[in-house]
């Protein structure tokens, strides 16, 4: 079994009286895609936000290898090697593809906040940005302003930005949402490539994509884990079939057809 890069133990998040997430433990392994599925309101997005630091935990711990990152702010977690995409596309709409990715690369360059010298002339940062753009398959729209791109390309851009931060763990929050079939196929291929040397946590509604990509699955409902294991194990888990998969899987297949 490959090394565990990100380990969350008994995570909990409470909003007033509402338990959005409670007692969720999850291991994300290197070279694997770990998918988290569950019905709407199951707490999947909250889980990602807890792992990335966008939301503070009420209880539990998040470990990155040997380091406890539970108390770190999102920017510190990013520096520790956690990269993420958002459910709603979160890019710099008025900047070009290159500038978006260059910013991401800059944050992880040698002196990210240098006060003097033009930012655009840092050869190392530029080279890493170019490599990330190429890896995300966006070489053809290098100089396009982000808001003029199609939805699918904007999501690819988000992946390119994550890649440029050179993460060891990547958290993807519904990367396929709102995509057409062809766009989705391209994104699936892209995500499959991401796990090489990294650990990927994927929250996704598209069951075909999930079963095409996942090496490991966790099913959530009402803020809790109801099953976790290999795709085969989860697929045949009675509680999962009852609670969620049977109905939704059929619906997903219906949509794809």
């Amino acid at each position: 079994m490959s090394e565990i890069l990100l380990k969350a133990t008994a995570l909990g998040k409470q909003y007033g009286g509402l338990r959005a997430v409670s007692g969720v433990s999850i291991d994300v392994h290197r070279d694997e895609v770990h998918a988290v599925i569950g019905p709407n309101g199951a707490g999947k997005s909250t889980l990602i936000n807890l792992l990335s630091g966008d939301v503070c935990v009420t209880c539990g711990a998040v470990m990155m290898g040997e380091n406890d990152i539970t108390a770190l702010a999102p920017n510190r977690r990013a520096m520790a090697g956690v990269g993420r995409s958002y459910q709603k596309t979160t890019i710099f709409q008025n900047a070009t593809v290159f500038e978006n990715v260059r910013l991401a690369a800059q944050a992880h360059g040698g002196r990210p906040l240098r006060l003097f010298g033009a930012a655009s002339r840092d050869g190392n940062v530029n080279a890493r940005a170019e490599a990330a753009i190429e890896a995300a398959g966006l070489t053809h729209c290098f100089d396009t302003v982000a808001r003029f791109m199609s939805h699918g390309e904007q999501r690819q851009l988000e992946i390119a930005m994550v890649l440029a931060t050179e993460p060891r763990v990547i958290l993807l929050d519904e990367p396929l949402a709102g995509m057409g079939h062809a766009e989705a196929q391209r994104m699936i291929a892209l995500i499959r490539g991401l796990k090489d040397g990294r650990a990927v946590l994927l929250v996704e509604h598209d069951m075909d994509a999930v079963f095409a990509l996942a090496d490991r699955l966790t099913v959530m409902a009402d803020g809790q884990t109801i099953a976790s294991g290999s795709p085969e194990y989860v697929r045949s888990h009675p509680a999962v079939r009852a609670a969620y998969l049977g109905h939704d899987h059929a619906a997903a297949e219906g949509e794809a057809a």
């Binding site: 520096m79 709603k88 710099f92 033009a118 939805h151 519904e174």
Partner: protein
């Protein structure tokens, strides 16, 4: 086309610089003093724009940094001699920077409307500090009878009592401050500042320490505002609490918007435009403030892009955006967990 317009712009810019250098040779003293005053306001607007335009932080306390530095000069000036500029200038700038660090550290914990209110309140705190206590002569202010001295070993380098000398000092320091801001906004730091302005969440998740970036910008901006305030106090030979008041902060904000938010030179143009306008209105109308107020209201609705937008309109060239329209954001409804 683009190449020609760039040449034009460079030519116009060189002409303005040449005129600024030549002004004292042909213009009467009044205009030289007026231009120096406008340049110092331009420097204040330049500093404010670093946080408002590039940082997206609407600060209403920059007059406090401006006035505070003026008071430092006033307090360091002996009764019948000039203060040493070698000591008083760095002291004034450092005090302004320290105030910006404290106020910034507190107010940058907040966002949006809160930030505006908190900066306004802290700015007024400094106003009342000088207005209600005897530190700086209370509400009467302080006179600076002798301008600061710039000398080495007893030999005067620059006699600031001379209007032309003062003008050139202000011009040189404005040029220096402008180059500094230009360098900052092009640097990785400046890009990070803009990223935090455009999308704070994303800037954080990319790994940028947003609070630290903003605080650094706020302190640098406060120090430039302090430099402008020091020179203004030296020019007028007088400091009063009104120099720290929020009406000045708001007026400088108008200059920034008038000249163009988020451009390096815009605020300086805006400062000249607004001060020139004020002079013209004062000379012609008794109730000129009414007209000034109406012009500000009109600016908000008719030309939120400032003078540049007016200039673009007058060229009547249709400003078309290239590329297809933005993709519909239809995913929000689908993807809510």
């Amino acid at each position: 086309m683009a190449h020609v317009s760039k040449l034009w712009r460079r030519g116009a810019f060189a002409l303005v610089i040449a005129m600024a250098i030549a002004l004292p040779i042909f213009a009467p003293t009044y205009y030289v003093q007026f231009a120096a005053k406008a340049m110092l306001m331009g420097m204040l607007a330049l500093s404010l724009n670093l946080v408002v335009g590039y940082g997206g932080l609407v600060s209403l306390c920059h007059a406090a940094f401006f006035g505070l530095a003026g008071y430092v000069l006033g307090l360091m000036t002996p009764e019948s001699a000039g203060a040493s500029m070698w000591l008083s200038l760095p002291a004034a700038v450092l005090v302004a920077g320290a105030a910006a660090a404290v106020i910034g550290a507190l107010s940058l914990r907040t966002r949006g409307i809160y930030f505006i209110m908190v900066t306004l309140a802290f700015g007024e705190m400094l106003f009342y500090l000088f207005h209600d206590t005897k530190i700086g002569g209370g509400s009467d202010g302080l006179y600076i009878y002798v301008k600061p001295q710039l000398a080495i070993g007893g030999a005067t380098l620059l006699d600031l009592e001379n209007n032309h000398a003062f003008y050139y000092l202000a011009l040189a320091l404005l040029a220096g401050a402008t180059l500094l801001v230009r360098e900052l906004v092009r640097s990785p730091f400046g890009r990070a500042l803009c990223a935090a302005r455009d999308n704070e969440r994303r800037a954080l998740s990319l790994g940028f320490p947003v609070f630290r970036v903003r605080l650094t910008a706020f302190v640098i901006s406060g120090m430039i505002a302090g430099l402008a305030g020091y020179l203004s106090a030296a020019q007028f030979g007088f400091v009063a609490p009104q120099m720290l008041g929020w009406h000045l902060s708001a007026t400088v904000l108008v200059m920034v918007v008038l000249g163009g938010v988020g451009t390096v030179l815009g605020p300086i143009v805006g400062a000249f435009a607004l001060i020139g306008l004020e002079e013209a209105l004062k000379a012609s109308f008794e109730h000129w403030k009414l007209i000034k107020g109406l012009i500000i209201v009109a600016l908000v609705f008719l030309a939120p892009g400032g003078i540049q937008q007016l200039a673009a309109l007058s060229r009547a060239a249709p400003v078309e955006r290239k590329g297809p329209p933005a993709a519909p954001q239809s995913t929000e409804a689908l993807s809510n967990v």
